[in-house]
Symmetry: C2
Subunit: 254 residues, 2 copies
């Protein structure tokens, strides 16, 4: 069984529509590549109690939890407090972080800046050469920033710690099929080949296209399902086929 993960995306700005979240897709793709199943994502406001109660549930139910947002120096950054409350621990000022803040801001240092040195008791600071500031880990929770550039950089830096199971592979077939007409075929492919079949209608240049995807951790399964799918579709409706990289490499060898 692949490990199961969840995400908590934190920020009033996302729920008022001022900002569109850019971090969940990055996390989702990374976990897919690592063979970890992202089961659920929750978006909540910058409120300590809400963050804590969401997190408590996610930590209990999932192997890995990732948070995004709410770790800056201002009053609306409540994530660290929420994490501490979820784990029932106090905050302490970390002397190492405090020294780094003082070294960086010098005489301009404010209480706001120093708040960023406060971390929950029993948490771990993950340092990395590529990072100016460590990643906080508390239990099975990785606490990541909301700014997309920082989120992506930090996720990349901790990727090797999350570990690698069998990666998920995905093949895709781009078509002009009508979804309803091939519904029975898709259900059969999923049942017979043990792959997860997805069917995604969308507009491309004003015309409806249907993208079909086949996912599995087993490259053989994906390949066989892809062959069966292509046999079942009207070739005149197929616009393109995308094989996962691992399949291409395998093909190249044989």
């Amino acid at each position: 069984m692949p490990r199961r993960a969840a995400a908590l995306i934190i920020g009033n700005e996302l729920l008022s529509g001022k900002v569109s979240d850019a971090n969940l897709p990055v996390l989702a793709r990374t976990l897919f590549e690592l063979g970890i199943r992202l089961e659920r994502a929750v978006m909540c406001r910058d409120e300590e109690v809400a963050i804590a109660s969401e997190l408590r549930l996610l930590c209990d139910r999932y192997d890995l939890v990732f948070t995004s947002g709410g770790i800056g120096p201002t009053h609306d950054d409540r994530t660290i407090q929420g994490v501490a409350r979820a784990f029932g621990v106090a905050l302490r000022r970390d002397p190492g972080l405090e020294a780094r803040i003082l070294a960086h801001y010098g005489p301009r240092t404010t209480e706001g800046h120093l708040r960023m040195a406060e971390i929950p008791e029993g948490s771990r600071l993950i340092e990395s050469e590529e990072l100016a500031w460590p990643v906080l880990q508390v239990g099975n929770v990785y606490v990541l920033p909301g700014v997309p550039e920082f989120f992506a950089r930090k996720l990349k830096a901790i990727r090797h710690l999350i570990g690698m199971e069998r990666p998920y592979l995905s093949a895709a077939v781009e078509t002009r099929c009508d979804e309803g007409e091939i519904a029975a075929l898709l259900e059969r492919i999923e049942r017979e080949h043990g792959v997860e079949v997805g069917s995604y209608p969308r507009f491309v240049d004003g015309k409806m296209q249907l993208r079909l995807t086949l996912d599995s951790q087993d490259p053989e399964q994906v390949e066989k399902a892809l062959e069966a799918l292509l046999r079942g579709l009207n070739p005149a409706m197929v616009l393109g086929v995308e094989r996962p990289k691992a399949l291409d490499q395998k093909k190249a060898k044989t």
Copy 2:
């Protein structure tokens, strides 16, 4: 008190990173304009039990719930089943919808197509001149499609039914301030003026900018908070000010 809303965004493709959700930002902006507070969004997989249990919680806790995705004709579209299970009711085939499907697809009609005529007992079909297909409402839940163009069109068509409270207004100041240096100022503005103050660092052309926002349903509050904020900031660090439209109109009149 403004009414409180939640969203359930449904789709494996979002949690595997194949597709980035585009519907939540549209919903969030719409509710903000209508003066309804979007409190929470959950993203889950295309699984009937997961959809039903998420929805049960959301329906009980929030005044309005909106779902996105999973209402097509294929086996991975489980939203309608999930909604029925959440409300503990059976599905029935609606004769009107069935007739429309048969008229549209004619001899090409499949069981997949006809699945789209199945709706939970006791649900309401909202018709609109702009829509080819009605919106399903079950209790306090509006069931919307995942395809972004259809989601936006349907949300627009039911907007007048959701109703209008006092709209939220938002002013914004774009700055080059350091977040930590003005943290105390921001906290004071929020406390003294009763507005929600947001502080959003982000990269613009490779340089860090800090966007400050002031939200309230009371135009006077926003205006006073904006004046106080601008008095408190170093003018050399201010790049731009955006007043909400309602404030601009008021200014123009006086």
